[in-house]
């Protein structure tokens, strides 16, 4: 099966490979995997707490070319977006951009899951910083 030019391009020149400090309260980490092919994908994003803008994104993926291209593209797309905007990215957008064939759609699903997982992790971290306020809010209900 032939990969599309865009997949090959991302595969040969992956953007934003690397990692961020996962203990940083402003960094969200998403780790997802697909058992059918054994792929694992780690996506990390650093969010500016004031503006909610994703300032940095890094990934490391062990898997096929499509999985690498999907996560590389995902980091490119989320950078500069707000958290809410990033959460609207759909796997079908990635499929379209990279012209992924049907057998590789799960790679794009993985990338979408990784974005969501990373931002959930970030939200959880933000929430735990604000735990002091939560009991009061719960008491009002």
């Amino acid at each position: 099966m032939a990969y599309s030019d865009k997949v090959v391009e991302h595969y040969n020149n992956p953007r934003n490979v690397g990692s961020l400090d996962k203990n940083d309260p402003n960094v969200g980490t998403g780790l997802v995997g697909a058992p059918e092919c054994g792929d694992v994908m780690k996506l990390q994003m650093k969010v500016n707490p004031q503006t909610q803008v994703i300032e940095e994104a890094k990934f490391k993926t062990f898997g096929c070319g499509s999985a690498i291209a999907s996560s590389s593209l995902a980091t490119e797309w989320v950078k500069g977006k707000t958290v809410e905007e990033a959460l609207t990215i759909k796997n079908t957008d990635i499929v379209k951009e990279l012209s992924l064939p049907p057998v590789k759609i799960h790679c794009s699903v993985l990338a979408e899951d990784a974005i969501k997982a990373a931002l959930n992790d970030w939200k959880k971290k933000q929430g735990s910083d604000a735990t002091a306020e939560q009991p009061a809010a719960a008491a009002q209900q």
Partner: protein, 233 residues
């Protein structure tokens, strides 16, 4: 039977006697076409249980191969030759699927619609991912070290190799645990069938087996990868 059978396979194609299943017509002995949606267990006349006596299965396989073999039909009609071929190839598929305990579970789940793409989202278990990621990183380190130094790095590759070997052992042990777990649930499945469990109960057991199979495949791929790398190192 009170309903009028629509499917033609309810009657022998040759003598039109009622046909309730089996490879041959009970009345005239002619070979019968495969019913639609026939399952491999039924092909051998077995219940859909996961514990199978392999010696018995092998014996059934040999008996059936002998009875269904196209050589027995060289003088028969073209239709019967076709049926013999069809049943013989089904026999081989069925035997391959049922003889291996893992393939047997996979087959059972597939026939229950559990293994289709998108039927149940195939997610990797989160507790495994961290370890999987680290193992992959070690593999990567080993590859890099090897391509840079070609073995002249004074023990660095050797140390990496050792670490990987230790990790590989760990994952092989995990594979053993997963197999044990699958065996346990398979036992529950057989007991549930004996007890006449309803659809919901059966589906729940299938879902549990599906989870274990996913985990198993993930670990097995990893172990295979590591073994390949180690062999080349």
């Amino acid at each position: 039977m009170t309903t009028v059978p629509i499917a033609t396979e309810a009657f022998c194609w040759s003598c039109h006697a009622p046909h309730v299943g089996g490879h041959f017509c009970a009345a005239c002995g002619k070979i019968q076409p495969l019913p639609r949606g026939a399952d491999y267990f039924a092909f051998f006349g077995l219940p859909q249980k996961l514990w199978i006596d392999c010696a018995q299965l092998e014996q059934l396989f040999h008996q059936l191969s002998w009875k269904l073999h196209p050589d027995n039909f060289v003088c028969a009609s073209e239709y019967e030759r076709e049926l013999s071929l069809e049943r013989s190839s089904q026999l081989n598929d069925a035997y391959r699927a049922l003889r291996d305990p893992i393939a047997r579970v996979e087959y059972l789940l597939a026939s229950g619609g559990m293994r289709e793409e998108g039927a149940a989202r195939q997610q990797a278990p989160p507790e495994l991912l961290e370890e999987v990621f680290e193992l992959n990183e070690s593999l990567d380190d080993l590859r890099t070290a090897r391509s840079r130094s070609l073995g002249t790095d004074g023990g660095k590759t050797a140390a990496l190799k050792q670490r990987l070997e230790a990790e590989e052992k760990k994952f092989e042990a995990k594979l053993g645990e997963v197999d044990e777990e699958l065996k346990r649930i398979a036992g529950e499945w057989d007991a549930a069938l004996d007890a006449g469990a309803d659809e919901a109960k059966r589906k729940a057991l299938m879902a549990r087996m599906n989870d274990v199979l996913n985990r198993r495949r993930y670990i097995r791929n990893l172990v295979a990868n590591v073994q390949k790398e180690l062999a080349e190192a």
